[in-house]
Point group: C2
Chain length 326, copies 2
């Protein structure tokens, strides 16, 4: 893919095996991931598992729904696709090691897009020492990316179901920035640039999951679909209620600016935004929160019949809480 | 999903979490798979790995390309999606244990289709004691299914690259039946029924991979894209040539009938057909082939410059050899 002509080649031009061959070169040139005995190219990858437990997660991204090719370049989309799966492993208190990608795409998609996507994907994986070990490509009407991440836990995985009344709720990582960036892009703007970049290249706190698990987190989730929505998942899985205190959040200046420009309450980006992949966890009240974690609420008993699982400043919240995939 | 009204509900009607909840019920009611500590519903599944090596494979199926909803019911499509991934693990000499599914689908897809798909998928997994442990759903313009299978090998995995000159080439399982069924459906017919059923519900020889590995197979692949195409993959990965002897094949009566009706050489279904997921392997010449395996050719030295990797009856073959995904 070095000549000008090659750069214009479509997937149909290079063909399935041409594409796979070029993807394999990119993968071979980046971090292979530890303990990969056989990488892409055979019927299956062969991996050496050192620990007794593995954690596995799958996420789907669809063009026009989770990304737009005119809003982010292919490497950014690749990095985001990796990030959201690496983040799921992070949220278990684990460390991702190996990923596979199922890519469906139109025949007229520039092959360079798929290669740049792969490069961005592999770069993001390399941040945690993980590698792309396999996948499949097929023709479809729109780009659909399905990523599976496999990781290892050195401590017991932290589930959604362990929160107990009296625990504190805390988050780690930027929250609301990506949602602010998405709002900016949706209005046809490109600034504040820091928010647009936050949307294009999230920076999940990849080291925070293991540290939280070791510190004694009782429940943990990554905020991919909205802070209140994810708090609701933890509350429901744990059979508790959660109250979020808005005074906990310092609304960053760029979000204030977007709020002013769009007439939206900037706090809504924080409460309902997802794509930053911050972590939300609960800790026993006597645990000193690890560095980087901020207390944002408390865990209460199961709500009364008909009462909400999640409240904001002690009251029902009637704004959007997150993202629905249908 | 028991009332008539519910059966007509779309994915948009039931919503993402409604769909996931119902899928989880189906998964819980079928074989969970061994060593699943945490199944669907958290950020990741948690699995106990008993052996030191795991094998991982991902395959994509796209509506209109790999299946049509009017040619096979949802449970059949689900079974096929599982089968092609279970077969990849089989082709390594391994046994599949855990699978995840990324499902992208239009909002107006009947939710019942997704549930029946899941049921067929889980039933196929149960044939080998594997379980569905996670996944994701999202909205898209067409149905795209990406499946990842994770398995274990008790012997060294059999790669594509181990064939040596002098080895014999053998296959195990029905071959050409599904391609015949597809040709029938493509002409608007529904018989011979045995071929249409072979296309809708392949019956891969799931026990054959481990047995071949234990018997000393030097290379192995599952025939998902066409016998000659897959033989070519083995020949290229191994740096050898392969000659296939057509006299090895007994063309079954239903394929003869379809050949007569369509004017096609029925041997082409066998040489270029894929979806049966038969296994192709090479064995040292002094190995007695395990039960169910049929010798179909021989491995030779690397071909001369410009000569084909794979020949049929000692000569170049100019018919289709398999399936291209772009």
């Amino acid at each position: 893919m070095t000549s000008g002509t090659d750069r214009d080649a479509s997937l149909a031009d290079v063909g399935e095996f041409g594409l796979i061959g070029r993807i394999s070169e990119i993968v071979a040139a980046t971090a292979p991931g530890e303990d990969v005995l056989v990488g892409p190219g055979d019927d299956a990858a062969v991996l050496r598992v050192r620990k007794g437990h593995v954690v596995v997660s799958t996420d789907v991204m669809v063009e026009g729904r989770h990304f737009r090719r005119d809003w982010a370049d292919a490497a950014d989309v690749g990095a985001r696709a990796a990030a959201q799966n690496l983040s799921d492993i992070n949220a278990m208190g684990g460390r991702a090691q190996w990923l596979t990608v199922g890519l469906a795409a139109p025949a007229d998609l520039p092959a360079q897009w798929a290669l740049d996507f792969t490069r961005g994907f592999a770069e993001e994986c390399a941040k945690v020492g993980a590698g792309l070990v396999g996948g499949d490509v097929s023709r479809a009407d729109q780009v659909v990316v399905s990523v599976t991440a496999i990781g290892a836990c050195t401590v017991s995985p932290v589930l959604r179901s362990g929160a107990a009344p009296g625990d504190v709720v805390a988050i780690c990582g930027r929250q609301g920035w990506a949602a602010g960036g998405l709002a900016v892009l949706g209005r046809g703007f490109r600034s504040p640039r820091v928010l647009v970049e936050a949307y294009r290249r999230p920076e999940p706190p990849y080291d925070a999951g293991v540290v939280a698990a070791e510190a004694g987190a009782t429940a943990m989730v990554d905020i991919s679909d909205g802070l209140l929505a994810e708090a609701g998942h933890v509350a429901e899985a744990s059979g508790v209620s959660i109250d979020v205190a808005t005074a906990s959040f310092e609304v960053p200046e760029p979000l204030l600016a977007v709020g002013q420009a769009t007439g939206a309450d900037p706090l809504r980006f924080i409460l309902a935004g997802g794509d930053d992949h911050a972590l939300l966890a609960t800790f026993p009240a006597d645990v000193a929160l690890p560095d980087g974690w901020t207390r944002i609420g408390t865990v209460g008993a199961a709500p009364a019949e008909g009462a909400p699982r999640v409240t904001v400043d002690g009251a029902s919240y009637d704004g959007p809480t997150g993202w629905s995939h249908f």
